[in-house]
């Protein structure tokens, strides 16, 4: 049941990130709620669920992406992998600093990987070309804070729902 709810949330967040939020960019940056969600999901859910979710959403993003196929798949799986590596047993409460740090770390990897792909495609950079990267990190930091609050409530609700279902 919880698994299905999380799939639905991931699907809605994917469509929002690809088709809705791009029209409300802040300094040209679209919030990547899917990454924030996968990071939080890996904190709370054990087993393969976060990885399956990361693969499902990653493939979906790759289908519409200008980057080589597998780019988003790798980034999202990496997000889940890093959290699982640092917190193999998961956490009961979401620590803001750990959560924010991991999210921004993944966003930084995601942005640098895009620069890497562009470099391989023959684009050469100057210092000024890294300005969008800095701006992106700042805007993502803002969205991570907002999403952190929403996710705390979501996972609290999911936990209570799960315990209710178990009691039945």
């Amino acid at each position: 049941m919880i698994y299905l709810i999380n799939i639905a949330i991931a699907a809605v967040l994917s469509f929002l990130s690809l088709s809705f939020f791009p029209y409300f960019k802040i300094f040209g940056v679209v919030p990547l709620f899917v990454i924030y969600f996968i990071v939080a999901l890996t904190y709370f859910r054990r087993g393969f669920e976060p990885f399956a979710m990361a693969a499902f959403v990653g493939i979906f993003f790759d289908i519409f992406s200008p980057n080589p196929f597998g780019f988003y798949l790798t980034i999202f799986l990496l997000a889940a992998g890093i959290v699982r590596y640092i917190f193999p047993e998961g956490m009961n409460r979401l620590s803001f600093w750990y959560y924010g740090g991991v999210c921004l770390g993944i966003v930084l990897i995601y942005l640098l990987a895009q620069y890497g792909i562009l470099y391989m495609e023959g684009v050469r950079f100057e210092i000024i070309n890294f300005w969008p990267l800095m701006l992106s990190l700042l805007v993502h930091a803002f969205f991570v804070i907002i999403f952190y609050v929403a996710l705390e409530h979501l996972f609290d609700w999911e936990k209570s729902l799960e315990s209710k279902l178990k009691r039945r």
Partner: protein, 262 residues
């Protein structure tokens, strides 16, 4: 083997298989089907976004709308006069072509499409539209919005197509200036800018010049407007001049586009 490592191994193998299968074209049908199936849902979100942003921009810009309306009415009157003049010129041009035995120019048709997906990165510029190879779209075709060039088709599926925007850092389009015969290449810049490069030193170029496609190479017709020259950068000891170009099309608010088919 520790559990952590086995999970990591499975993940890497799974991702590698998918990437390899796609590079060999084994997934093209699956990718096309997924795009077609998800297109209506993506279109719903995109249209919802359009209505929402339209509503908010209307509310916040209420004061400026009256002035803008008056300016637009003036523009319409002026453009109507220009259209009438151009129609006369076209008639004259056609009869002269006939007299000289030239082949008819043009031969383009137009396919309207709606934007269903934007790439969420602020580094790349790519959109997906809800028309594809079934509607006769092929790679390289020009895509316009509000009369201005916004990009060209880079990949087609049955019912969807990816459009590489002119602001994508890997985009390069042969262009010229409307006022002078100065050729160059319009290249996308990281951070959604556009620049005109490879302009030979000594060529005539000034700020405010309109940049149009030169029609050299590819399926992009000549004369499509991209933007205007905003700043000219003359580098010492360089054979070329660079110019920063401001695109006329609002790249962040593309809802409907038109594909020019040959």
């Amino acid at each position: 083997m520790p559990k952590k490592l086995s999970i990591l191994l499975i993940v890497i193998i799974f991702a590698s298989i998918l990437i390899f299968a796609n590079s060999r074209g084994f997934l093209s049908n699956a990718v096309g089907t997924t795009q077609s199936v998800s297109a209506p849902i993506a279109l719903f979100f995109s249209q919802f976004s359009g209505r929402t942003s339209g509503f908010f921009s209307g509310v916040f810009r209420l004061g400026g709308l009256q002035r803008e309306n008056a300016e637009l009415k003036d523009s319409v009157n002026r453009l109507q006069a220009e259209v009438a003049q151009l129609a006369e010129n076209k008639k004259e041009n056609d009869s002269l072509r006939k007299l000289l035995g030239f082949a008819q120019s043009g031969g383009y048709s137009y396919e309207p499409a709606e934007v269903i997906v934007f790439d969420p990165s602020n580094i790349r510029g790519m959109i997906t539209i809800n028309k594809g190879s079934k509607e006769g779209l092929t790679n390289g075709m020009a895509v316009i919005s509000d009369g201005f060039l916004v990009g060209r088709i880079s990949e087609t599926a049955e019912h969807t197509a990816k459009v590489q925007l002119i602001i994508d850092p890997t985009s390069a389009i042969p262009v010229t200036l409307q006022s002078a015969n100065t050729n160059g290449i319009a290249k996308g810049e990281i951070g959604f800018g556009l620049s005109m490069e490879k302009i030979p030193q000594g060529e005539q170029i000034k700020e405010g010049d309109t940049v149009i496609t030169s029609g050299l190479g590819g399926d992009i017709p000549k004369g499509l407007i991209l933007g205007k020259v905003e700043k000219i950068e003359k580098l010492e000891n360089s054979l070329f001049i660079n110019a920063l170009v401001r695109p006329f099309a609002d790249m962040g608010n593309l809802f409907r586009v038109i594909v020019i088919k040959k």
